[in-house]
């Protein structure tokens, strides 16, 4: 009886003293939840993402389906013949705005996500090599990166996109990649080709920032004792980079990736808006917005339909990045 009580007391005091153990992920999530706007943004993005993933099931009309004679019908018009609703009306040649908007979101967001993945990978690799091996390779790479970062992005993006799109047929892209991208974006192989090119252009010019970031992290990590310890245990360079440096440098990379998503959504839309991105029959938010420009004088609400999603996505990714930065490392400045 007495021992039982003592055990109970010991158990209780044990509970009181040792804190509940949390994984780093839980700690980050706790801190992230404190950023109200970032949480709202996360919910908004999740809703938009699930809408675009479910695109084929929730859109009443086909993307290319033209309803002859039903041009610019108002919001919520019901198609008598089939009973389907034009939630956001139709465009100038009678295509359903809502369906196109959802599919456009799928393409625009997929382009942004794939570009971020590629560019962050390139950035991590180049930054690691440059920071770890140093010497002349570092000097050459970083000079190049610095120069590229100082050149205004848009002119460079435009000139390369226009060259690539003009030479579209000449650029060899493995059919496997075209197939995968086509599946993700629900495009045929021909349309997928220009989407792949846009991804290439965006990520080809987008990796420099994260390479600089990664290099900086590697340079400071290289002097840490755990790296020294690992080396004294006989670890190879590759092992040290993969096992110790990249995981430790991941926090700023994640933040820059989420801010990068905002940048890519806007950049893709800008290219399409200016006519150097994915072209019209395939919907993207950018080319839909460009399409409304001619008709906005009579229908002022029109630019809002494709424009707001771009703004909302850009803002949300920015807020998420902001929240992640606060959660992962409050001292971090990007």
């Amino acid at each position: 009886m007495a021992t039982n009580t003592i055990n109970q007391i010991a158990e209780l005091s044990g509970d009181a003293i040792t804190l509940e153990e949390r994984t780093p992920f839980q700690i980050v999530m706790r801190r992230f939840r404190r950023h109200k706007l970032a949480m709202v943004a996360l919910v908004v993005i999740s809703v938009i993402l699930s809408l675009t993933i479910l695109a084929p099931y929730i859109t009443p009309f086909d993307v290319q389906e033209i309803n002859v004679g039903k041009y610019f019908v108002p919001f919520g018009t019901v198609d008598e013949a089939t009973g389907r609703t034009h939630y956001l009306g139709t465009d100038n040649i009678g295509r359903d705005y809502f369906s196109r908007l959802i599919f456009a979101g799928r393409i625009s967001l997929a382009v942004a996500f794939i570009s971020v993945m590629i560019s962050e990978t390139i950035g991590i690799v180049v930054g690691s090599i440059s920071g770890f091996y140093g010497k002349w390779l570092d000097a050459v790479l970083m000079r190049f990166v610095e120069f590229m970062l100082t050149i205004p992005t848009l002119p460079l993006l435009l000139i390369i996109a226009s060259m690539l799109l003009a030479n579209e047929a000449l650029i060899p892209i493995p059919p496997v990649i075209l197939n995968i991208i086509g599946k993700i974006m629900l495009l045929g192989p021909r349309d997928a080709r220009s989407a792949v090119l846009i991804v290439l252009v965006l990520s080809g010019l987008g990796w420099m920032g994260s390479a600089q970031l990664m290099r900086g992290m590697i340079l400071s990590l290289r002097e840490q004792t755990f790296v020294e310890a690992s080396r004294s245990l006989g670890a190879s360079n590759i092992w040290i980079i993969l096992r110790h440096m990249i995981p430790n440098a991941l926090a700023p990379i994640i933040v820059s990736a989420s801010l990068g998503l905002a940048g890519y959504v806007v950049a893709e839309a800008a290219l399409a808006f200016l006519g150097f991105g994915i072209q019209d029959p395939v919907p993207t938010w950018g080319n839909m917005l460009a399409g409304t420009q001619t008709y906005m004088f009579d229908r002022p609400w029109l630019p809002l339909v494709p424009g707001l999603p771009i703004f909302i996505c850009s803002l949300s990714f920015n807020y998420i990045g902001d929240g992640l930065r606060d959660a992962l490392d409050p001292r971090l400045k990007l």
């Binding site: 050149i151 205004p152 848009l154 435009l158 003009a166 630019p303 703004f311």
Partner: protein, 400 residues
Amino acid sequence: MSVYLVRRVLQMILVIFLSSVATYALLSLAPGGPLAGLRQIQQSARFQITQEDIARIRAHYELDLYLPVRFSRWLIGQPRGPLVIGGKEFFSDLVIGCSQPIEEGFLNKKSGAYETRGTGCVKYVHLQDLVGRRTSRGIMLGDFGLSWRLLRDRPVSDLLWSRLEKTLQLIGLETLLSILIGVPLGVYSAVKQYSKFDYFFTSLAFMGSAMPSFFFGLLMILAFSIIPKNAGLPYLPPGLSESVRDYTIPLLGTIAAGSAADRILHLVLPVSVLTLINISFWSRYIRSSMLEVLRQDYVRTARAKGLKETVVIMKHALRNGLIPFVTIVVFTLPGLFSGAIITESIFAWPGMGRLYLLALGDNDYPVAMAIFFILAVLTVIATLLRDILYTVVDPRIRLS
């Protein structure tokens, strides 16, 4: 210092040379161009284009020369003919190109596509043939060659000069306004950190920096041009840099086309779009650098010795807080020349950015390349300027 400068200038020349190589590589990759459509015309019976015609056109655009020769002529305007030393001509028989290539079509078995490929040459171009050919003085000496499409066979520099004034107007005004408004806003919001104004302003600036300029431009046209006009209120012109004919604005009366009032009215919308977006970036930057400075010991010392708060901020904090800002302001230099592509295209502003877009859309690559090349050069110059300015505003930094 002078050793440093010499080294930097040499580096600059190397970078400019490399970027000109890259630009030219892009240019020669470009399809379309002056020969586009010639093949189709060649097939039609009406036009009867002979081999000689094609050779002549190819020579006109220098497409008959080999790439390195073409590049060298584009870059420095050489070679122009045989090497003449003491009245004697050397290398006059050197083959430098092919005016009539043999093109054979065949079926690519792997991809199943029909391809044409140059397999030989009927007539070569020799160095002596270059004598008397029209040539540019080279892009290094500021001669950008001739336009292909926009102003066919007229110098690219004519086009550039015609657009420069409007872009300088737009971007110059924007930069000036952004500094005049953005700096005080950023400083004020740093000084009053966590105040209502600070919260309101930083969240507004956050949204502004996430706002895509093309959407913002369209919204501004809606809000200040289309909706007021439809409602019969005073409105701002939505595009162009000056009007073609006189127009009447309620309350303001009739405005003559091309008058000063007309031009100013046309400037308002594009300048405010650019300025508002710019302010949201710059003021956030200034706010964070001011916050850092305000935490420094010397600011506390200044306060401790009883200086007025305005003196502390204006004299001690601001001057140090603006040091990193110099970098950003210097990098508006390339933009002063190249303009704002998106905003100019939305407002149909006849500036350099729109010219660039038109040139790219119309495959007029010499024009696009010239703009891009100047942009790269200005960027390199801005980098050097920034590093020098750093030592001026902050004597602690030494160049070495």
